[in-house]
Each structure stands twice: as C-alpha cells, then as structure tokens.
C-alpha cells in the first residue's frame, strides 16, 4: 500500500463531504431523509472500524457503546429536561465511561475470547436496560418529545425535526468524525495501532505499551459510536432497547466488512450499500434477508476485503 499525500487524501474526503452536501439539494425527499439516517449510522460503523479495522480487535458488543450514547442523550432530555447540546455531551460522557470500563476488562483477552467477552458485556448492558424499565422504557423504549428536539443559539433556534436541519446536522457529525478518523489513522498513533494489528508482540518489543494504545482505541471507538447513538436519539426521537441488542453489534461489523475494513470511507459505503439493498429488495419479497445474505457471500467471494478494500488492493493503493 502506497501512502497518499496529505493533500490528495484530504481532498478526497472533503470531496465526499462536498458531494453529500450537494446531494442534500438534489435528492428526492425520501432518499434525503434516508441518507441523513445512513450518515448517522455510518458514524457508528466508523467507530467500529476504528477498533476492528485498525487494531484488529473484533468486538461483538459495540451495540452497548451506541446504546450508551443513545440512552445517555435520550434520558438526559426525557428524564432531566436537558438541552440538546448538554444531552449530546451526556451521551458522549456515557460512551467514555462505558468504553473505558469495558476496555479495561475486555482487553485482558484477545481473539475469540475478546469477541465473547464483549458480546457478554453487551448482553449485560441490554438486560440492564430491560431491568431498569421504569427509567429506560424497557423493551418498548421511549419517545424523545418533539418540542425538546430544538437546537438553540441565542434568539435563533433550529428544529432537529426539520429535514434540512436534520440532514445538515447529520452531515456535520459525519464530516467531523470522518476527518478526525482520517487524522488519527494518518498520525503516528494510527500507525502504532496498525502495528499492533499486524504483530502485537513485535510492537511490544519495540517499546510500545500496546495495552494503553489499545485501551485508547477502545475509548475513541466507544466515543464515536456513542456520538452516533446520541445523534440518533436527538435527530430521530426514539430511544429503545433493540438498539442495544446483539443485532446492532453485528450490523456495524457487516457494514465495515462490506465497505472495507481499515478504509476511512468504507463504513459509509458499506452502510449505504446495505441500506439500499434492504430498502429495494424488501419492496419485492419478504425473503429480502436471503438476498442480503447472497449479496454478502458474493462480496466475500469476489471482494474479500470489502468494496473499498478491494479497490485499494487492485487499483488505488493510496486510498486511506
């Protein structure tokens, strides 16, 4: 893999952000709304990719980080009446706490054990949401009231339920996370993470504290996923336990595998692809998950590194 010049890499990413901005004015109403949701969930996938793609740690429990942000922000509004920025910050804080604790415990394991431990912690998190149903709404979940979903700047206020505001807010979050991710993976720290993925023992031997670096990666990944969850609660107005279920731990894995692990834009491509395949095929058959499954098998057979991963391998070696 050759290294892209900073200008080339940032130009590509800014170009993608610009394209998404322009699409806001071109897309039909339905796809406009759908893309806003996809961008928020692509952030979730980018958080997952940070750990899975760059550190090589396959987690099956990332739904708990997403749900930490979702419930952190949602409950702050519903139960405490906090404003949108404060609630978003609360969601991020929950993500930091949960990912730090889980990281400290789960990183004592590697490989299959790490998968199982993260899955079990996520299951505990899910059951805790059900157990404290009085506050969390249990399996039914809760609605974040529409009047509370307003972003105020002095005398100006923006309603997050407005499709344009929602799209632009989702785009802002997506862009920030995309550029931060790009900066991280291009940084010295990012290279250490890749080194850990490729050969942890050798990285240790070179004098790096791999545990601390991995823990930092778990926390960064957790914060990004929590940001996605918090944004989901505030932009779409629903907080529910299904987002903490194992399905939502597997989905970001699929999105990342589809788009290309360890590629900065892969999570967006994967989420976009999966969403559209489901959206289109479910209109024709109730067996749409079968079609999704076949699509996944074909991708694994012909694009084992995912869409962008394969493109990078075959044609564009400089893709970050």
């Amino acid at each position: 893999m050759s290294e892209a010049s900073p200008v080339k890499a940032y130009a590509l990413h800014l170009g993608v952000v610009g394209l998404l901005f322009v699409l806001s004015f071109l897309l039909p109403e339905y796809y406009h709304g759908l893309l806003a949701r996809i961008m928020v969930l692509a952030v979730f996938a980018m958080g997952y990719n940070m750990l899975f793609g760059y550190v090589g740690l396959l987690s099956l429990g990332h739904a708990m980080f997403f749900a930490a942000g979702l419930y952190g922000a949602g409950l702050a509004v519903i139960q405490l009446g906090w404003s949108v920025p404060a609630a978003f910050a609360a969601g991020l804080a929950c993500g930091v706490v949960v990912s730090l604790v889980i990281g400290l415990l789960a990183l004592r394991t590697t490989g299959v054990a790490f998968m199982i431990v993260t899955m079990m912690f996520a299951q505990v998190f899910y059951l805790l949401i059900l157990y404290f149903a009085t506050w969390t709404g249990g399996d039914q979940g809760m609605v974040v009231p529409q009047p509370a979903r307003v972003l105020s700047f002095g005398a100006t206020s923006l309603e997050l339920t407005n499709p344009t505001v929602r799209y632009m807010t989702a785009l802002a979050l997506f862009s920030i996370v995309l550029l931060v991710t790009l900066a991280i993976v291009r940084s010295r720290y990012g290279r250490v993470l890749v080194a850990i993925r490729e050969n942890e023992e050798r990285t240790k031997m070179l004098g790096y504290d791999t545990f601390s670096n991995k823990l930092a990666a778990v926390v960064i990944s957790g914060i990004i996923c929590a940001a996605s969850g918090a944004a989901y609660a505030l932009l779409f107005g629903y907080v529910g336990s299904s987002f903490a279920s194992v399905q939502y731990s597997i989905l970001p894995l699929l999105w990342v595998l589809l788009g290309g692990a360890a590629t900065t834009l892969g999570p967006l491509i994967g989420t976009l692809f999966m969403y559209y395949v489901i959206d289109i095929t479910s209109g024709y058959t109730s067996a749409y998950l079968l079609i999704v499954g076949i699509a996944l098998i074909l991708l694994v057979l012909f694009f084992p590194k995912g869409i962008l991963g394969s493109i990078r391998q075959r044609w564009l070696g400089w893709l970050p």
């Binding site: 039909p28 109403e29 339905y30 406009h32 709304g33 759908l34 949701r37 059951l127 059900l130 157990y131 149903a133 709404g137 249990g138 399996d139 039914q140 979940g141 809760m142 609605v143 974040v144 529409q146 339920t161 779409f236 107005g237 629903y238 529910g240 336990s241 299904s242 987002f243 959206d279 479910s282 209109g283 109730s286 749409y288 998950l289």
Partner: protein, 434 residues
C-alpha cells in the same frame, strides 16, 4: 344549463385575435402543467393510498400475515361498496421487520416516497413507539392496531390513533371483576419480565383490589428463560388463581412444566390468549389448560350466538369455525387481535367521509374528524362489538370476552361491558398543535 345573460353566453361575445391568443396560451399553459392536471384527477378518481406497516418478518411475522389477510378482506369489502368518498382504496405494504428503527424508516417512506394518505396496521408496541416520532414529524395520520397503552397514555403525538382495538390497561381492568367473582380472590401473577408483562403487573393489582381481590405474589420471568420449574415454588400455597401472560415460543414449555408441577390438583388458571395466538390450542403439552379461562378480544372459535356481522366478517377474512384458515386447519389465526384491522379501516373510512377528505393536504382535517368520533355501533363494520371512542386520548373502548377451554375449544362464558374498561384520561392530544 343555459344562462343567456351571464358569463356563459358566448353568443354575445366577440372573439378577437388577441383573446383567441390569450385563450390558446392559457390552454397550452394548462396542458403543460401535468402536475396540476394530475392533482385535479387525484382529488376525483385516484385511489386513497393506505400505507400498511406490516410485520412480515421478525418476531411479529405470524401476526403480520393475519393482519394482512384481514386488511385485504376489509379493503375488498370497502371497495366493493364504493370505496371511500367514491374513491377506491389501495394498500401499499412495507415490511418493518418488527423493528422500531426500520419502522420509523418505513413511515418516512410512506410519507415521502409512496405519498400515502395514512399509515396503518402496526401491532408491536416497540415498533409503534419507534415509528410515532416519524409520523408526527411528517404529519402523517398513523392508525395502529397494537393494543398497547402507549397511545392512550398520551405520550406519543397527535397523529397517532388506536380506534379499532382496546388497550391492555382497559382489557386488564375489565377482567378483574370476573376473576374476583368467579375464579378466586387471591391471585398470583406470572408474567414475562418486559413491558408487556409490566402492563399486567401494574394494572391488575389496583383493578383487583377494587373488586375485593388481592394479588398475593408477582413472579417476573426473564425473557431469556427456557425452563420455568424453578419459579413455581414461589407461588404461595394459598393462591386461588394463577394469572399467566407468558408469550413467545417458551409458552408450551411453561404450560407443560406447570402441569407437571401441579398435576391434577391445580388452582384456577386465567391467561391472556396473546400467549397462544396463531397456536393450536390442542397442541401436545397444552392439555393442562383444559378447563382454564382466557381473555380474547374477538373469539377464535365460532360461537353459537355469533351475530350475522361476526359470521360475515369470519367468512370475508377466510377463517373456519375453529379460527384457522379455510382449507388449512393448521394455519391458526390471530383472531383475538386481527379484527382490529377490519374495524380500524372502517373508522378511517368514516373519518375521511366526515372530513370530506380529498388528499394529503386534508390530513389535519382527518385528524380532527377522527377526534370528533364518539361511538361505533356493532354491525358489519364493527363485528367484534360496540365501541366508544375518546378523541382526547385517541383510544377506543369496547367489550372483552372471557373464554373457557372445553373439549379442545374456546367457549365464550362472559362478555364484559364497555364501562368495565373505562378509566380516567391521562392527557389530551387535542391540545397539541397540528
């Protein structure tokens, strides 16, 4: 019509070249405005589009299939009788996977892509709650058939209605007088440890207390549990009635193990048929339920005193006397709930006619017209029974059935009154802006 002195008297006008050109330009303008023409046609002859948010896949699939059948039968009957406001009804189905996230997307799809007039038909509570914000934001009337208390709690929004099926709070409250008078006054509840169970946990004790009864123990069983024997010793010995509302695939194991625990000397059993919807009551392992009682919204088995409307409804939907699909006795319906689809569509019809509904621009009028409804008489449009409707909480109230399992069939032994299920409103949707 002729009006020689008025506007239409062309004989008195002189057609100049300028007016002729103006007329041609206006005509061409109209011709080049297909949107306008389509719009005019849409108001007069295009079908009313109903977006059906169906649980085709996921945990609600058995319900979803029967909700679709009932909906298709109701739409066929409505269209055969001239449609709504003279327009045929078209149903567009989208699968929500019984998932609240996808549910919200589907509501958005109906509003912005299919551009349906309303969205209808959702059952599972978490999908309703997850989809409600999208309905409110798109100002899309959202008619659910869920039986959850979420609509009546007034915690959703002004666009969400449940006019065709009673809510669980009302159902539980209606059961209490019969339980206390006929089954026993000391009740132990066994329920799943999630929201469906919590409704029963929270609403039965006060309702029973008002009837001189008492809930002496509440046993919550985690949703992940697959064996129940270890919970049964928690049932107090003085229990006169076990009130059970276990749902999901584990219900067969639950009943079997309860039978093994008690043998032939058991307390009275009372349950909600939700546990056994789409399940043959004569399945192996369910013998222990013989002689026990169940709540049913609408009876699964044909009853001797069924009204003509009930008979016609069953024939239209295609269920036999045992509540299974005609021609396939193993395909047991979700009869206790699915009537709600039929009745809801007739409420929509009535409200659209009252509102003079022409298209999506009249959605606010439709909301107000629905809120103005007060009662639905028993008959072909409401075969389950008469209902009242509280427009402030967007919820209907109706009769409930208590059925006993006798000879492998559910026989209705008691019908409650509408008043048994009434309760104080917890809020008022009509104060919210449209």
């Amino acid at each position: 019509m002729t009006d020689k002195n008025g506007f239409f008297d062309l004989s008195r006008s002189t057609l100049t070249r300028r007016t002729a050109l103006k007329g041609l330009a206006a005509g061409a303008g109209l011709g080049l405005a297909p949107g306008f023409v389509r719009y005019s046609q849409a108001q007069s002859s295009a079908p009313i589009k109903i977006g059906f948010q169906s649980h085709r896949t996921g945990i609600g699939a058995a319900y979803g299939r029967w909700y679709e059948k009932t909906t298709a039968a109701a739409v066929k009957a409505i269209n055969a009788a001239g449609g709504i406001n003279g327009r045929q009804v078209e149903v567009i189905i989208e699968d929500d996977g019984t998932d609240p996230g996808r549910g919200a997307e589907v509501v958005g799809k109906f509003a912005t892509q299919h551009k349906t007039d309303i969205v209808f038909g959702t059952l599972f509570s978490h999908v309703v709650i997850g989809s409600a914000p999208a309905a409110g934001e798109n100002k899309m009337p959202y008619f659910v058939v869920s039986e959850g208390h979420h609509v009546a709690s007034t915690k959703l929004n002004r666009y969400v209605f449940q006019p065709g099926i009673t809510d669980v709070k009302s159902q539980i409250q209606s059961m209490a007088p019969w339980i206390a008078a006929n089954a026993g006054k000391k009740v132990t509840q066994i329920f799943p440890d999630f929201a469906f169970g919590y409704d029963h946990r929270d609403y039965l004790p006060p309702a029973l207390k008002a009837q001189g009864g008492e809930v002496i123990a509440q046993i919550a069983i985690p949703p992940t549990e697959s064996s129940f024997t270890k919970y049964f010793p928690q049932i107090p010995a003085e229990t006169e009635v076990i009130y059970h509302v276990m749902v999901g695939p584990a219900v067969l194991t639950f009943v079997k193990e309860l039978g093994e625990f008690y043998g032939s000397n058991r307390p009275q059993l009372f349950g909600f048929i939700d546990s056994l919807e789409a399940t043959d009551i004569n399945s192996p392992g369910l013998e222990f339920l013989d002689g026990s009682h169940f709540w049913e919204g609408s009876p699964r088995y044909a009853q001797a005193d069924d009204s003509e409307a009930q008979k016609a409804y069953r024939a239209a939907v295609g269920i036999d006397d045992n509540g299974a699909a005609v021609g396939d006795p193993k395909d047991v319906s979700t009869a206790a709930h699915m009537f709600g689809c039929w009745e809801t569509l007739y409420v929509v019809k009535k409200a659209m006619e009252d509102a003079g509904y022409k298209g999506p621009e009249d959605r606010a009028k439709l909301v107000e017209a629905t809120e103005a409804l007060t009662e639905f008489a028993e008959g072909p449009e409401h075969p389950q029974g008469p209902k009242t409707f509280n427009g402030k909480i967007h919820q209907c109230f109706g009769i409930q059935n208590i059925s006993k399992i006798e000879g492998g069939k559910l026989k209705v032994v008691h019908k409650t009154k509408i008043e048994d299920g009434l309760y104080e409103a917890e809020g008022d949707y009509t104060t919210q802006a449209l």
